[in-house]
Symmetry: D2
């Protein structure tokens, strides 16, 4: 029997003393003001146990972590045909995302890179009656928490500066892989990324992926097959150009966001979230990566 409480406390204490915490993302102006000293870890064990250390009650911008939730929603709506519009291979190459899109005729490498997530957003805009409201409700239901919300300022900030996303969406459109208007899809996408949660809410939301498709309120959202596939994609593609490194060092499916959040999970066992807004050179939370590495080393729990 693991003493999770002691393990988490030790990790927190050790890492929270770090002077070097990376850099807060500054390409979205609204995110650049977050205090770099925030640090929290929350563990949600499927047996019902919950463990929190540090700042786990402050909401942060989940950013790219939302891509997993959007994928889950789109997958549950349109099923396998989703894979005709987006691939499941790692992107491999950090410096030419748009190039790969050109080389591969507008089919994004996977649903967790920006271009792939924009295709997923397009699917949701096509299939949801009130896309933004419906998606927000889906997330609130997963977390069993109606207080979760968009941060409209963050969404507006991304819209005003998100030229690379406009470039990607237009390129997808040029290849016929975007059904709706660029502006409408990106408005949805920027809101999706601007959802805010704290560590506990995020761990609750991802419970469904650790629990074979059933959320903590015993409602079925995804088939076991769908959950396995989403977990496989998180493992292969969840950490930008550091996906291999994360699989290698941590050994869990997971997803990070430039807001400094990371969520990871061991199927049938737990979900765990970390938040520390300082990022490493590859855009993943520096303390968060270290915390998860220590956690799986200490507990010897990983999928491998």
């Amino acid at each position: 029997m693991q003493n999770y409480s002691a393990i988490l406390n030790n990790i927190y204490t050790e890492l929270n003393a770090s002077h070097f915490r990376g850099e807060v993302a500054n390409y979205i102006p609204e995110l650049s003001h977050v205090d770099i000293h925030n640090f929290g870890i929350h563990l949600n064990v499927l047996n019902g146990d919950q463990f929190s250390v540090g700042n786990t009650n402050t909401p942060f911008s989940i950013q790219s972590i939302s891509k997993v939730l959007a994928l889950a929603k789109a997958f549950s709506i349109i099923g396998e045909q989703l894979w005709q519009r987006v691939n499941v291979e790692p992107s491999g190459n950090p410096f030419n995302h748009l190039s790969l899109l050109e080389l591969e005729n507008g089919i994004p490498r996977n649903p967790l890179i920006n271009s792939g997530a924009i295709v997923i957003a397009d699917i949701l805009v096509s299939h949801l009656k009130n896309p933004k409201a419906d998606f927000l409700n889906f997330v609130r239901d997963l977390a069993n928490d109606p207080t979760i919300n968009f941060n409209k300022n963050v969404a507006a900030s991304e819209k005003a500066t998100g030229y690379k996303n406009f470039a990607a969406a237009n390129l997808l459109k040029s290849f016929g892989n975007l059904e709706n208007d660029v502006d409408e899809v990106l408005d949805f996408y920027f809101h999706q990324c601007a959802i805010e949660m704290n560590c506990k809410q995020l761990a609750d939301t991802f419970y469904v992926f650790a629990n074979r498709g059933t959320c903590s309120q015993h409602k079925d959202y995804l088939t076991l097959s769908q959950v396995k596939r989403i977990n496989a994609i998180m493992l292969s593609c969840g950490f930008y150009d550091e996906a291999g490194e994360f699989a290698f060092e941590v050994g869990l499916p997971g997803k990070s966001g430039v807001g400094g959040g990371i969520v990871a999970l061991l199927p049938n066992t737990f979900t765990i979230t970390t938040w520390s807004p300082g990022l490493n050179a590859k855009g993943n939370s520096l303390l968060g990566m270290q915390a998860l590495k220590l956690f799986t080393t200490e507990t010897q729990l990983s999928i491998f």
Copy 2:
């Protein structure tokens, strides 16, 4: 002494019998309706002689040929500092224009590929009081013909479908290499490309590049050094991925457009234009390329 008239007539007669004339560009809906049987050649010798065969009085959309004119205007305004925002190397690679932009930090390879031409358009939007009107007047002055105009339908058609250009402009913006709004720059760019001329007008307009910077009305527009540089860029970069082929087969500086026009010139000697709307697989006028190859072979006139 060359018998230009006989040479041009022979070329016209031989090529005009061709059944295979390539394909009319269909990615701009408004251009797809042009009759593929149009074919004309116009030669403007600096000594004042003019030779015309075929359909040289029908205006066509000059499209990318306008990039040379925009470059000339921007170069004459801001001089050498222009090269801080755009390079002068061939692009080489047809399938990853945006990728190169990513790899090379938002500095387009040269001013005649789309991303480079968009940077030039941005410079003109910044420096011209009434960008569209002022640029049109510049072109009219070069040609000494006030009837030259934009085709507003073509400009609108490009705006409605030009997703790749929106992608490129947003990517440039993300790298800080676009001063003005994407929409404003592209509105100018789509109008610039939608200028219409016939073969004779186009040959007159490019007289300035064959005549060391002085137009047919004896007005100086560019220094000799600037003209040489623009001619060098046309030779190296004027024909998309077929630039080497054109230098190799024709041996003249020139520029083509997807409207089916080509203009080429021998410094101090002549300008020559062809128009045939059917394009080869690389996007250059099929009959036009053949006509120019026959012309330089027959006359033994080339820069090499």
Copy 3:
């Protein structure tokens, strides 16, 4: 409790009726003669149970599967410093392996692509007294079977036609990431790939990776941490450009070879091997991929 025997029999019966079995690899002449009708599956459960269907006693060329064994040996010798010479990220891109090597200064993307495996071979040539004999003995010990051997004809056939590997090795050498002579390293590498095993032997050999570093004879070869890392690399990088697809469809760490073999494993539970020499378009055994997909679907066993 799973009825493995019935499950395997059903899979075998269903797939063995397939008319379309892909194409036998023909780029190594010696391999092109193998009968495409061979098909076998062997399951080695850690509790000692063994299940065989089809042709599981005929040796085949393990080819790239050997890369995992070479990695294990090199990792056990030099430890973490191995990662200074080879990365752990998926390669992503099928059409420019050498290009990535150029872009990333001679550091291969991972140890399971050819260039990475050549670096691993170089490490073994540097550290083993009699590289070929010592490595063969390592494999025999893992399998507890002294009859395993090289096929010298296959090694010679690869040496005579392996121009791409010579290209890769010379490129590595040009970047200073090869200590020994190109010819010496490739002689080792071609022998390593030319090891022959049958399905049962291969499943026995990989027991160590399912059993936390301890082989079936209770001898420790690797630390738990090392085994986890190797399993993570297999999952992310074991199936060329189909790695994401395999993680997605099968959900197990594994490795394929162009000889038509595949090995996969569930940590703490089993190893499973398939052999069918017909390959799909991506170079992985067509029936083998289907068999493993059916097996994890039927048993609901995967790491996700």
Copy 4:
């Protein structure tokens, strides 16, 4: 009438005072010992006038300049079918030469990049009875100077360290674009590059390209069409990634080598050579590039 003597003297005097002369190539050990203070310019006017300043009698390694001579010989032997094995487009991209070869199925971008020159060498090995001796005699005949020779030490030095060329040749072989053995082709290639000439000999050798295919001894070597094509290729592809820059700044067809030599020519008018072993960041002679730029600026002679 130009005062060439005064112009060349002024250029020499101005540039020879430079403290910053770039870096002598050090990747071929044998070349790294050349004194960086060497500097010479030789002008060979087709009317028979010759002008020399500085060190124009010391032989240097012509290196890549030899590629033009090998191309001329191969082109004169097999004619147009040469272009089935090598393209005529600029390479564009400095960091992935081998990648382009992979992407474009083993057809090098042009005959002046290393992979293209290796294909040309292969053609000469196939068609010449005594490849090295016959090629040397061809060069001696062009220059009308039987003292020109290989530097065997330089050839050996390149063979011992030319891993990138071995990589390229093996990659070509893997695509079926090399008829002879890699070692035999590269032995020829390394000798070809190791020819030594002084500035005057080099200017004499290239007389044939300025004089419509006829050498100074009135012997015809190439057709006018072939000469024009070779000149076009020099202009588009003669200066690595600086080809556009050279066309832009100098405006003449030319070729540089890492030995510090540059040769350029104005058709029907002159050939000019410079030698200064210090290279700029792109691998072209620093003083040589400046000298040629000053020369064409001062004389207002260029092809544009």
